[in-house]
């Protein structure tokens, strides 16, 4: 009953770097990112696509990496939370989350960073309601979302070049 585990070779761009990894056909992207590539910033809260902690961008599309097979990213570009800051320079979403205290335990934060960044690339001037609906797929049990939403709207302002 112990069949040898068949591995597939996958070539993808991960956080801007050309990367090759081996995975089994049934393995999801979240698991490979964490266990094979040591990108532990991507969190697994449910494994069913309900909590958003594993949010990543695949070819700039926001997805739950627990619902994507690792083999599906062949030839594609994946961005995780580790690839959001530009060297030592934080992305405005990261910076504003820190300044507003938009995290408590921080387990949802990587997913929030990725999702909010995707929002602001898609819509540079979201209303509060638009931000709330866009982030409705990222569960946070600590903050009540108040400071997260304020941080995201403030980051949008910064990115538009407006004074806070």
């Amino acid at each position: 009953m112990n069949k040898p585990l068949n591995k597939m070779a996958v070539q993808a761009t991960i956080n801007g770097e050309s990367t090759a990894f081996l995975c089994s056909p049934g393995q999801v992207l979240a698991e490979v990112l964490r266990d094979e590539l040591e990108l532990i910033g991507t969190k697994i809260g449910c494994n069913t696509g309900d909590c958003g902690a594993c949010s990543v961008l695949v070819d700039d599309r926001l997805v739950c990496s627990c619902l994507v097979l690792a083999a599906e990213v062949e030839g594609k570009s994946v961005q995780t939370v580790e690839g959001v800051a530009n060297g030592g320079e934080l992305h405005p979403v990261q910076q504003k989350l820190l300044e507003h205290g938009g995290l408590q335990c921080g387990i949802c934060t990587p997913g929030v960073v990725i999702a909010a960044k995707a929002l602001l690339e898609h819509n540079p001037d979201p209303t509060e309601e638009q931000a709330r609906y866009w982030l409705a797929g990222n569960l946070c049990r600590c903050t009540g979302y108040d400071k997260i939403i304020r941080a995201v709207l403030d980051a949008a302002k910064t990115m538009r070049g407006e004074a806070a």
Binding site: C46, G101, C105, I107, C108, Y145, D146
Partner: protein, 744 residues
């Protein structure tokens, strides 16, 4: 009088020291550590809610290639009546062991019965399926009333609550307290109301599932890495459950992805340790989300009967509260706290309070933010609101007439010290939210809440670094920004920049014993240990400066991060860099047991609008007002208030454990157990009131528990005001509201 009256740093909002790692993905949580050569553990769980285990055969699993260890409940100690911990958090070992793994009898669905360790997660899962367990299935009971019926299946035939004859029932505990003469007081009451209220069982809903890695060596030493609210508690419980000497276990707390009381015990940790010992390899275990819901402590559901008596002019003179709580399969002691604390917000000299808890075939309940208080407060506060309406009084005015203040006693007997309930009510009455008109079609509710905020044991060590920076070690896992608070408090006392202070959560072998992060005690008690260690540092630096200047130590003063005498001064940095020559390394530790309490109170105002067609309730405006004593880092005080309020909103409107007739949880995932999402909510206006705690040098009280207490009654009242239909049973989900509106 507080030792510190004016503050340089306290009350400011610097970026938290651990923040950078958390926004960039570097922070390591429970499942984020892998050890070389590690195996993966998998738990075999019961498919039945109530059964006797006739046999467990692990031989086929163990024979599989890549499977290196198996275990059952027989590998754990046989528990007697010994107690773990003390005070409200005390638990009997016999109530902890079966939540780790069953020993002979299964009392809830998905209870652990065996575990395996293999070289990959897939293999471990396959091996778990190869474990053969034979059960004699028994009828299950998940409803507290059915569990108390004469023909109910009995979960424990060897447990009898105090004062009951030795015939088996499912009654777990029964506690009754009386002050004064409530019966006589009800005779004098001019208005009496009596109603029943209920709140469902729910889950803490932390986003990070339980996870750990264990390693054991040939000398019998064990190392554990896990996400927990208290790694000293994990060490203690793991030792008690496995029989391994306490001194041979080291526990390191990872970053923790939420707990809210749910990570104050052990589930996987002892299993990983035993599998590591048996296999000789490190073992990693991560709980599946479904199992988090099915097999870790939820918060008890409760039914509360409240009878209140008042005079026509609005004086509350009598109360009788009976709370019936679901304990789950083992004794989680849920009934004592509501019995003691139900009436805590009110001046009542004649009251009776009764709490009972009942065994049912569900996981043993566990702490969830202000454990058991939201449940009883739904009843008590909604009854107060109903009584105020009957008297034709404004709900805040009625509360102001009857709210406790310094010198009043509650059911626990001791009079309150300086508390801030009346101040919160005054702020609420004068708040723009309360003064604003309620939108057409919406309703408004007000309610208040209490938590005791106890101190307990904490330790801190402060090491001065040669360049004038400081490392601070504490034993308190940082669940919501406490490292920022610790650094602020040290910065305040030492007078050096916040950025020069490096707080760290140290492992069990690197800092003194510290009780778990919970009960809103960390900033209060661990913070006090940090303040004391910093004060020792200042005293020693002053002594060294005095020796340098050849003057009495008593004449040297400390300010602005330097020792001063006359026109001479020595800065913190100079004293740090010259420490070796001036008396040796500068290191200070403080440990304490804080036996005092710092009661916290809050008042919430909620506007809600119910869509009469769909039954959906929208919270349109929400204001949380709370006495924090002194807010160390206001962002994280507000964060506690906002997060707690939203947990209460979720419990009021949606969250509920749904069991089928076989005792199987039907909504064990975030899709069907729906916690609030961003689009469900408005901004939560958090108003911090500061009435200093006279027993703390900075005036700190606890903050975290109180904000989950008022939301349910505030929302239930707002829904009543919006619909004209009185709901006393939660959650107020759309089907319930639609059905009630249709029948009216």
């Amino acid at each position: 009088m507080n030792a510190y009256q004016e503050f340089r740093m306290i009350g400011s909002r610097p970026v938290r020291p651990d923040g950078l790692d958390k926004v960039t993905g570097r922070a390591r949580y429970g499942a984020d550590l892998n050890m070389q050569g590690q195996l993966y553990g998998h738990v075999v769980r019961s498919p039945h809610a109530h059964a006797v285990i006739r046999s467990i055969d692990c031989s086929k699993a163990l024979a599989m290639e890549g499977v290196l260890a198996v275990m059952t409940g027989q590998d754990l100690v046989e528990p007697g009546n010994q107690m773990l911990g003390s005070g409200e958090g005390a638990m009997a070992l016999k109530d902890v062991v079966p939540m780790v793994m069953s020993q002979g009898k299964v009392l809830f669905h998905s209870q652990a019965v065996a575990a395996v360790a293999a070289t990959s997660p897939e293999l471990a899962a396959q091996a778990a399926q190869a474990v053969e367990v034979v059960y004699d299935v028994l009828p299950a009971v998940t409803d507290v009333h059915k569990a108390l019926a004469a023909d109910a299946p009995i979960l424990h035939d060897d447990r009898f609550p105090d004062g009951y004859p030795e015939e088996p029932t499912n009654l777990a505990t029964h506690i009754s307290l009386t002050v004064g003469d409530p019966d006589a007081a009800f005779e004098k009451a001019e208005v009496v109301i009596e109603q029943n209220y209920s709140v469902p069982m729910c889950h803490q809903g932390y986003i990070e599932p339980h996870a750990c890695v264990a390693r054991a060596d040939a000398a019998g030493r064990v190392e554990l890495w896990c996400c927990t609210q208290g790694h000293f508690t994990v060490r203690h419980y793991t030792s008690a459950v496995t029989g391994i000497d306490l001194g041979k276990i080291k526990v390191t707390a990872s970053e923790i992805g939420g707990g809210f009381g749910g990570k104050t015990t052990v589930y996987l940790e002892p299993l990983a340790v035993i599998l590591a010992q048996k296999s000789g390899r490190p073992v990693k275990m991560v709980m599946d989300r479904g199992d988090v819901f099915r097999a870790t402590g939820p918060a008890p559901g409760a039914e509360t009967k409240v009878k209140l008596g008042a005079t026509r002019d609005g004086k509350l003179i009598a109360a009788d509260v009976e709370c019936l709580m679901d304990s789950g399969a083992y004794n989680g002691n849920p009934a004592g706290i509501p019995a003691f604390m139900a009436t805590a917000c009110y001046k009542l000299t004649d009251a009776r309070s009764t709490g009972r808890s009942v065994y049912t075939n569900k996981p043993k309940i566990h702490a969830y933010r202000a454990p058991s208080i939201p449940q009883v407060t739904l009843g008590f506060e909604l009854a107060i609101t109903e009584l105020a309406a009957e008297l034709g009084m404004d709900p805040i005015e009625f509360r102001l007439l009857n709210a406790v203040e310094e010198g009043d006693a509650n059911m626990m007997g001791a009079p309150y010290n300086r508390i801030g309930l009346r101040e919160c009510l005054e702020v609420a009455r004068n708040h723009a939210h309360y003064k604003s008109a309620v939108a057409e079609g919406a309703g408004r509710g007000v309610a208040m809440g209490y938590w005791i905020n106890a101190g307990m044991q904490s330790s801190a060590t402060l090491n001065v670094i040669a360049d004038g920076h400081v490392a601070i070690l504490t034993g308190s896992p940082d669940i919501g920004g406490s490292r920022a608070s610790m650094a602020l408090m040290a910065s305040e006392v030492l007078g050096i920049p916040f950025e020069h202070i490096h707080p760290k959560v140290a492992a069990t072998d690197a800092v003194g014993h510290t009780d778990l992060t919970g009960g809103s005690r960390t900033t209060l008690a661990t913070g006090q240990a940090v303040i004391q260690a910093a004060e020792q540092c200042v005293a020693e630096m002053c002594r060294r400066a005095a020796a340098e200047w050849d003057v009495e130590a008593g004449v040297v003063t400390w300010s602005q991060g330097a020792a001063h005498y006359g026109d001479q001064s020595l800065t913190f940095e100079e004293l740090a860099s010259r420490a070796g020559a001036m008396g040796g390394p500068l290191t200070f530790s403080s440990s304490l047991t804080s036996t005092s309490t710092a009661p916290g109170f809050g008042v919430h105002i909620c506007d809600a609008e119910v869509d009469k067609e769909t039954g959906r309730t929208t919270i349109t405006r929400y204001t949380a007002i709370q006495d924090a004593g002194k807010a160390i880092h206001p962002d994280y005080v507000e964060g506690q208030m906002q997060g707690g309020a939203v947990q209460g909103i979720g419990w009021a409107l949606n969250e509920e454990y749904l069991y089928n007739a076989d005792g199987v949880l039907e909504n064990p995932g975030f899709l069907d157990y729906r916690i609030p999402v961003a689009s469900d909510l408005p901004f939560i206006d958090a108003v911090i009131v500061e009435v200093p705690n006279p027993l703390h040098p900075f005036g700190v009280k606890g903050v975290g528990e109180v904000p989950i207490v008022p939301p349910m009654p505030a929302i239930a009242e707002a829904v009543y005001q919006s619909t004209g239909v009185r709901f006393r049973d939660l959650p107020l989900n759309p089907p319930k509201i639609v059905a009630a509106l249709a029948s009216n």
